[in-house]
């Protein structure tokens, strides 16, 4: 196995485990809310049996709450399914906005995540030939790094700049300064290298700029390496 595929296997398993753990935590939280709401309905029923008036508004609130949490569960499972399918084909054309949006949603399952706003000024979602799983892993790791600096009350803005023909710039910023000491970590650096992405820190205006080429020579080389590995 070459360096790139070895890296994807090891780092990929770590990433997969981390995302699965956060999704299972989210599902457990949803079930805990539904369980407490069902328990509250049971309490109200017991009180009604004892002759207390049953307030219809309370019943309505409970059923609405259960319906909302069931929807939250469905949304979580949908994201889990989308994420699981990102390993179906190692290299393929993906939509950049869609991939970033999914990765942000996955990172928001973490209790310390900041609020993220994604602004797609270009409207058109550009296709990128990449390794979807490694790209999600890279953006996820970068977001975690940013969250550590901005904290759970912080706001993060992600913008896209597709003015250049051969790629899109993914710009991450916050209204307040963020501490970028130690960025990029060796794992972030390696993932970006294998994908052919460039990481630029603009320290004057506190922005992270991730250059995402539509097709990089690195990704073409990785595709070839993966084909050789699958044949051998």
């Amino acid at each position: 196995m070459n360096n790139a595929t070895n890296f994807i296997s090891i780092e990929g398993l770590k990433f997969f485990g981390k995302v699965n753990a956060s999704i299972s935590h989210e599902i457990k939280n949803i079930l805990a809310i539904i369980s407490e709401t069902a328990g509250f309905l049971n309490d109200l029923t017991d009180l009604a049996k004892q002759g207390e008036d049953l307030k219809l508004s309370l019943l309505e609130n409970c059923t609405e709450s259960i319906a909302e949490d069931i929807q939250r569960g469905f949304d979580t499972i949908k994201q889990m399914n989308q994420f699981a399918h990102s390993v179906d084909v190692p290299i393929k054309e993906i939509k950049i906005f869609e991939t970033v949006e999914l990765t942000v949603k996955l990172s928001n399952f973490l209790s310390f995540s900041s609020k993220v706003e994604i602004e797609n000024g270009d409207k058109e979602d550009k296709p990128v030939l990449t390794c979807p799983f490694l790209m999600e892993s890279l953006i996820y790791q970068i977001l975690l790094f940013v969250y550590e600096s901005t904290g759970p009350d912080g706001h993060v803005l992600i913008q896209f700049d597709s003015q250049k023909k051969d790629g899109t710039s993914l710009i991450i910023s916050t209204p307040t300064n963020f501490i970028l000491d130690g960025f990029p970590t060796p794992d972030i650096q390696r993932a970006a290298k294998f994908l052919g992405f460039e990481l630029n820190i603009n320290s004057s205006n506190q922005k992270l700029d991730i250059w995402v080429p539509y097709v990089s020579k690195e990704i073409v080389a990785l595709e070839k390496a993966l084909q050789i590995n699958s044949k051998s």
């Binding site: 457990k28 809310i33 328990g39 209790s111």
Partner: protein, 126 residues
């Protein structure tokens, strides 16, 4: 100063609110904090006015074990029970070492919680 029977520290707002309502229905007083820092500030200001603290391990600003350690520094005798969705055996041992008297998994059984609270109120801690 109003006495609080159960202080719930949990960032899952709907869960904490529903649990608080069920406690109130049983004619006990409860208070909810959604992060570690706010909870610690409240405990510091209301020393001795809470019977039981229910603490989640996954909080947005601090890990639950750190909150537990800080609670015990402020108020060493207050009973703290951990309630978690996914606590590991390692977490459990660490919480016991730091002074938690109970480690519970969500969903919480309200009757068991009331039994614990009644027992605590029969034997005041300070």
């Amino acid at each position: 100063m109003e006495h609080i029977d159960i202080l719930i520290i949990d960032d899952e707002e709907k869960f904490a609110a529903m649990l608080a309502r069920r406690i109130e229905l049983r004619e006990y007083h409860s208070k909810v904090c959604h992060d570690g820092k706010t909870a610690l500030q409240w405990i510091e200001k209301h020393l001795g006015s809470v019977s039981l603290i229910l603490l989640d391990l996954q909080l947005p600003d601090m890990y639950g074990t750190q909150v537990l350690e800080d609670i015990k520094k402020i108020h060493p005798t207050v009973p703290v029970a951990i309630m978690t969705g996914h606590g590991s055996e390692k977490d459990k041992k660490e919480c016991e070492r730091l002074g938690a008297f109970k480690f519970m998994y969500k969903p919480i059984n309200i009757d068991s919680l009331m039994t614990i609270l009644e027992h605590i109120k029969e034997v005041p801690n300070d």
